[in-house]
Symmetry: C2
Subunit: 271 residues, 2 copies
């Protein structure tokens, strides 16, 4: 598949090149912004002024059937953070078919990644692609040398299965939270959980809050808040049904029925 | 590129097939969930019980250099909504290289899409791929027959440029909000704006709130709230800097400097 992948990338880059050439006609900030391929003109990022720190290597370990928003949320935050290089890896490398058939990439092959500063494992219902012993071994290997070992949603179940969360507190999607116990981790229902160098977010959308928290941890509160304003993260949900404690009983009971076992935090992921 | 694209899809589907075969060993809910390729087991979706309505065709019109989270947010909400079919289209069809070089797909070719119930145009800094007259013509054509014409972030500038927002109130990323006036639309700083059949969200992360609002509009408050609980949308940002009115002055001023013109809502997108 790597040849197909390379040719696809090349075709896309060439298309991208056209946009950039067009942008060059604009001059000034627009030109620089197009070159940076970012919301931020001039290649600048939030809080970047004068910084000369070594870039942080931030790796999302994604996989087939994964949930897009679990990593698309924190990716948007981390990608705008100064001196931070976001990378994606997956068990097979290349393009990855996520939940609902969407294709995302490019990704490096997980086994090819030597070392990162932060590893983040996002979640899904179907964790099977990551639950193979040879893949869990790479998750463990990268976790042992990372400054921060992190997850969003049921990604914490993958981390736990790799053996690195023994005795550590961790968040998880509420419906699956207590599955963590089966791997020796300590379930914590909070939306963002930090236990030493382990940081985790709750279900799906919690990835954005987690992203903000790790951004502040990595580059300080000023830079994190600048990114927050850049992505206008001032959430105003039109309803209040986002966790089982606050949701109206009618909503909660309907969802308990959709997700068997979730009333006890014991919905089974596909392992 | 279509041959490459087809071969990539086939390779990925075959890989996907392996996961599903493995999931079959689990039996029961897990099997059904794997077959549905969704967080929800049994092919069920929130509030779906007994419904026989015609599925809603919900189209995201995406494009090269677009911002992933602008549509990944509402996509997660809409994909879990009952009787709702989410589609993606782009100017050239196939895989699309978004901002920061990430590849997303598959997409239909925009000119091939006949008619949809909802069109949603997400945003970016670089709108140039959508600003070509022949592409704007398709945006206008689909908007004229859609039940709802919607956008996230600077996607409203694309809609406005296509001519469909004349005299309509619309949201936009705060930094670009007043650019809407140049196309005869009425800028509204609210996070979610509804003006008749036109609905829009503010910058980037507002796409999730917009997604919740349109979900309720399309399938009712019960179904929308069930999805909210499924994706644990109970936001708890660790800082309060998500809009220029609330952000600490130090944060706001730094971002005004990063985004020239934004203090007046007149940051220039790439057109």
């Amino acid at each position: 598949m790597s040849e197909i992948f390379d040719r696809t990338i090349m075709a896309e880059l060439s298309e991208d090149g056209r946009s950039r050439r067009q942008a060059m006609l604009m001059g000034g900030a627009a030109l620089a912004a197009a070159a940076a391929g970012s919301l931020l003109p001039g290649g600048a990022r939030a809080g970047a002024a004068g910084k000369t720190e070594k870039p942080i290597d931030f790796l999302f370990a994604i996989y087939p059937n994964g949930t897009l928003l679990d990593f698309a949320g924190p990716n948007e935050i981390l990608s705008l953070l100064p001196d931070t290089k976001v990378r994606f890896a997956s068990p097979a490398g290349g393009l990855v078919t996520l939940e609902k058939g969407v294709i995302f990439g490019p990704t490096e092959k997980l086994s090819d990644v030597q070392k990162v500063d932060v590893i983040c494992v996002p979640g899904a219902l179907d964790l099977s692609a990551m639950m193979k012993p040879e893949i869990l071994r790479h998750v463990r290997r990268l976790s042992e040398t990372a400054r921060y070992v992190t997850s969003v949603c049921t990604g914490s179940i993958i981390l736990a299965a790799s053996g690195v969360l023994k005795g550590k507190r961790s968040a998880c999607h509420w419906a699956f939270l207590n599955v963590l116990k089966e791997y020796g981790a300590i379930p914590d229902p909070a939306r963002i959980v930090k236990d030493g160098r382990f940081m985790s977010g709750g279900g799906v959308t919690a990835g954005i809050d987690f992203g903000m928290a790790i951004a502040a941890e990595l580059r300080g509160a000023q830079a994190a808040q600048e990114v927050q304003l850049l992505v206008q993260y001032d959430p105003q949900p039109p309803f209040h049904a986002g966790n089982p404690l606050d949701a109206p009983p009618k909503i909660r009971d309907a969802v308990f029925k959709i997700l068997p076992g979730s009333e006890n935090g014991l919905m089974r992921p596909i392992l």
